[in-house]
Symmetry: C2
Subunit: 312 residues, 2 copies
Amino acid sequence: MTDVGTLLAGARQGRIAYIARLLSIIENEEPEAADIIRLTYAQTGRAIVVGFTGPPGSGKSTLVSAITALYRRTAARVAVVAVDPSSPYTGGAILGDRIRMRERYLDTGVFIRSMANRGTSGGLARATRRVVGILDALGFDVVLVETVGVGQQEIDVSRVVDTVCLLTIPGAGDDIQAIKAGIMEIADVLVVNKADRPGADETARDLIQMLTLGSPRLAWRTPVVKTSAEDGTGIEELIAAIDKHRAWAEESGEARRRNADAMRHDIQALLQERVLQDLATRVGKQKLDDVVLRVVDKTLDPYGAVDALLRD
Amino acid sequence: MTDVGTLLAGARQGRIAYIARLLSIIENEEPEAADIIRLTYAQTGRAIVVGFTGPPGSGKSTLVSAITALYRRTAARVAVVAVDPSSPYTGGAILGDRIRMRERYLDTGVFIRSMANRGTSGGLARATRRVVGILDALGFDVVLVETVGVGQQEIDVSRVVDTVCLLTIPGAGDDIQAIKAGIMEIADVLVVNKADRPGADETARDLIQMLTLGSPRLAWRTPVVKTSAEDGTGIEELIAAIDKHRAWAEESGEARRRNADAMRHDIQALLQERVLQDLATRVGKQKLDDVVLRVVDKTLDPYGAVDALLRD
């Protein structure tokens, strides 16, 4: 058993190895995970938590790296949580990105964590939310979550962060189709990244037009920001847009509503897990085996089997 | 409420409308479903249950139609359960197939049922197994299950039927790759359908070679049968291979083992559902809402919330 108190004390002093160990316990749902969450939960809710999602090749990692640098000018400590399996931190991307992020690695005010991909996207979302919660409770001022935009994951990221930035790049017609198809619903800020490439203005115009055509989403008018991590274009503007969204979400009650929604999912999932664990303990393999044999021999039907197991 | 006794009596007399209604109750998990299963379960296990799986375009429906005709020479009653969403019975295929199967429709000894696609493949497998069970208990001598071979469904079909026939067609290189990748594991009989087309012998040879290369699966040597529903080639041979597999499975204990495996899954799923239903009833929306608010306000952590809900 790991002593949770010692780990937490070390992590609060900013000791990287302790932070890493705490996050591993959470991510792998080791027995101490519940204790760690119990002990840190009340200190959460202070960090700025921003998500960056978009298809592979939309330059998420490079943009996150550039934003990290800018946040570091004002924020004492920044954490990056990478959920993207193709992210450079997990070894899927080109050397250029890797080297660029290395600068951040060498900055002791920046902590970088890669999440292993966990079977279901629901499981990944929960593990990510908990990792973010711990980093928040440990006093990181900003937590940036980078997640690849495929399938279910964009939906989940909105349960993890305060503000979702959805990235696209100039001329990515297919991306825009995907955005149209509903992913835009979860975007709080739309980003046309790699805006130094030709066609950025057209892509931004398309997105703005799409936003006016769509049903207005709450009272928040989703901004479209053009960025380029190469030449620094739009990075400050993007941070301003994120700040504006957070202020609006706090004031309008949207932040609270979104948080409640995430918590409801989390609690329901925990509750189900707990009940199913109790069930497994109560029923046990031998009892189940016995009942299965009786069902195979047709002296019992499947519903009768369930009754018998629950009666015991 | 539907009177289950009346429905069952009518269905046992072979009245189509009663059979259809029974199956709908099972498929939609209406309240009477449990009673129907309790009342019929002891009569299951008599029918020959064969599955046909393979990619769209491999000619499953036409082959099933040809096999149905041949089984009808000896078996009094044949049921076809189509789980393939592109199947002609559900309207996804060409007119020729539809007309060909129409002959079977007009044969009163043949009952055809399309399964609606039910969210998860696990749910579909269970619903299909139950529908097959009812048809078996109602006295159908042969039940043929046609299911499209994509993703998880091939795995599930092996929990539904006694013998799995996996279809491929001449020159379908990709299919063979897919077969290589593990799907073959579940095939009891490999079928090269549309064998009147060029390349059938090569495809059959490739499959046989693959079988010798792979690790021997149990004591059963998976046969490769070339069929053509067009000219009737190999249909009798295929039925002989199916019969041989069933005899082997009965004798070797594989049938019992497979049945126990299916039942174990079914009982566990039912047990979990029952417990989660009880939980939802016990906890209720108001209680959950209250606890969520306390978690949002950080006067309670998510684990504490679960404790509080389970304590009540």
